[in-house]
């Protein structure tokens, strides 16, 4: 675990010296800022007090596109540069390597998410008697769980490729698929329980965003994280056998 933490730390620091991470952060904050302004105008016009959801709802959707850009290089780049040979011949277990990469990516994405706290902070002064603090806490907790799962998917995919572009699109594809995965059960009359359980949206919008903390949703995101981290370790190990 010590080794995983060292790797995570290095990855976290690395984000602050790569233009890709800045570009992704810039786009997220720009679009969120624009939507925030738009929602405020809308609320003013139709006379209702906006809550924290005007920030969080679009953010979850935007994260689907931002996080692949943040995770795509994590392992793929080590493979294309050959530096993976360095870490896999050091006394580092395969899972420590994968968990370290995931943790580094997660910490950066979490930092980015926490920066957006500025919007509810501003909003708190604009509405009376202030925004609902409970919704703020559960909403952000949900978003962090979402981040954990998306980064795990990204790391697993990244471990399969030595090409970052391929890694980006496969991660994005998997995330979009998870986003719409319950569609068949809705079109078919809500019969397919497995697919509707897997739906990425249904575990955050009706619950965390509405102030509900349900253990099933926490289990969903954490088990997604664990599954993909496991897959990532397996991919790294099979790479040795090739």
């Amino acid at each position: 675990m010590r080794t995983a933490w060292i790797i995570a730390n290095r990855e976290y620091k690395r984000y602050f010296s790569t233009p890709a991470a800045y570009a992704a952060s810039f786009m997220l904050l720009l679009i969120l800022g624009f939507l925030f302004y738009n929602s405020l105008l809308g609320a003013l016009f139709s006379q209702f007090a906006p809550g924290v959801d005007i920030v969080l709802s679009p953010m979850v959707f935007l994260l689907l596109f931002i996080s692949p850009a943040i995770t795509m290089h994590l392992i793929a780049e080590e493979q294309s540069l050959g530096t993976i040979e360095l870490l896999l011949t050091a006394p580092v277990k395969d899972w420590e390597f994968v968990v370290g990469k995931w943790l580094g990516g997660f910490m950066f994405l979490a930092t980015l998410v926490l920066v957006t706290l500025i919007y509810p902070f501003v909003l708190n002064f604009m509405v009376s008697p202030g925004i609902d603090q409970g919704l703020l806490v559960t909403g952000y907790l949900g978003v962090l769980l979402v981040c954990s799962a998306i980064v795990a998917v990204g790391v697993a995919v990244s471990s399969m490729f030595s090409n970052t572009v391929a890694s980006f699109f496969i991660t994005l594809g998997i995330m979009l698929l998870l986003w719409i995965i319950s569609a068949p059960s809705q079109s078919g009359g809500g019969s397919n329980l497995v697919l509707s359980y897997l739906d990425f949206r249904s575990h955050i919008y009706p619950t965390f965003m509405a102030g509900v903390i349900d253990i099933r949703d926490i289990v969903y995101y954490l088990s997604l994280t664990a599954t993909f981290l496991f897959l990532g370790s397996v991919f790294v190990e099979t790479r040795r056998w090739r």
Binding site: T3, R10, R14, L81, G82, E85, L88, V92, K93, R242
Partner: protein
């Protein structure tokens, strides 16, 4: 220290190494010599714990490279063929990161020590992306030394270095070889000759010869071949030479030049020199013309050896009728 038994690795259709057997003891520098694609890198990757073999066994310091991989990796310093560097880090940060991963004590001191060893202490705060190829190679070597490993595995350690750096690195490796076990690969023949206690010649995944450089030369050339040169046309030279005991197989090599073979174990050069001077010749040169390591190497590895034997020193630059593999070697030669 290193023990390899029946090691085999196949990449699907291609057999990279087959039934490799060798060993290396503490304080020994073993040179792995072979053309590109002979299986040197594959063997080194297996020994460093990067990939498992298809079959066979390899142990380092008594630990199995597959079953006790982590123990092996703690004891091995490995410099891969493509130097694994992060361009976005400074030399110091890079080494510090790896030292932490390897759980080295007194990280900062150790980093400075290894940078001193490879003579890179002036560029400690430079970004790796700004370094020249030779410097990058030396940082890669520093990385392999961080945890003071018992076994050093160096895949072409002197590639890309300028002559001064090559001498420095060779000196460093010889120094390290006193206490550590060093396995290094190269296709530069003079390098193994100068640095290694023992040479393993590998070709097409198999060891074709194993000995010290001197013995390898002697064994394969069978006796000593000597060339002499005298002033003038050297008329009657051949008959004078033939009269000296122990001299066989005299051949005339041109104006005042001749070559002969001495019987195995006999050095007839002093007698030859005396005989020539007594016969009134002005002796200009007498030298050993034994098969060079290059020739031996070609004899061991090449199929086209006979065609090359006659065309004198340009053994390595046999362009045109050679496979592209050898041409690559040519470019890399010092």
């Amino acid at each position: 220290m290193i023990k390899v038994e029946d090691l085999t690795k196949d990449y699907g259709a291609r057999l990279a190494i087959s039934n490799l057997n060798f060993h290396a003891e503490r304080g020994e520098i073993v040179g792995f010599l072979g053309p590109n694609g002979a299986g040197k890198t594959t063997t080194m990757r297996i020994l460093s714990g990067f990939m498992p073999p298809t079959s066979g066994r390899a142990t380092i310091a008594g630990f199995d490279v597959v079953d006790q991989s982590l123990e092996v990796r703690k004891r091995v310093g490995y410099l891969p063929e493509t130097v694994p560097l992060y361009n976005d880090m400074t030399v110091f940060d890079y080494l510090r990161y790896l030292a932490q991963i390897r759980n080295v004590e007194d990280v900062d001191d150790r980093v400075e020590d290894v940078l001193d060893m490879v003579n890179m202490n002036t560029r400690i705060d430079s970004y790796i992306s700004s370094l020249s190829k030779g410097m990058r190679q030396r940082v890669g070597l520093a990385q392999a030394l961080l945890h003071d490993p018992e076994v050093l595995i160096l895949d072409e350690p002197t590639i890309g270095l300028d002559p001064v750096q090559i001498i420095e690195v060779r000196k460093l490796i010889r120094e390290l070889g006193k206490e550590h076990t060093v396995l290094l690969s190269t296709h530069i023949l003079s390098e193994v000759q100068q640095m290694c206690d023992r040479i393993l010649v590998i070709n097409k995944g198999q060891i074709v010869a194993e000995d010290t450089a001197d013995k390898l030369e002697e064994r394969l050339s069978g006796g000593r071949r000597v060339a002499v040169q005298v002033a003038g046309s050297g008329e009657g030279l051949d008959s004078v030479l033939q009269a000296v005991p122990g001299v066989e197989d005299v051949s005339h090599m041109g104006e005042g030049k001749a070559e002969f073979q001495t019987a195995p174990g006999v050095d007839s050069r002093p007698q030859v020199a005396k005989a020539l001077i007594n016969a009134g010749y002005d002796l200009l040169e007498i030298r050993s013309a034994g098969k060079s390591l290059e020739e031996i190497f070609l004899q061991l590895t090449g199929d086209s050896e006979t065609s090359r034997r006659d065309d004198e020193p340009a053994y390595w630059s046999g362009r045109g009728n050679e496979e592209s593999e050898d041409d690559e070697d040519d470019d890399d030669k010092e």
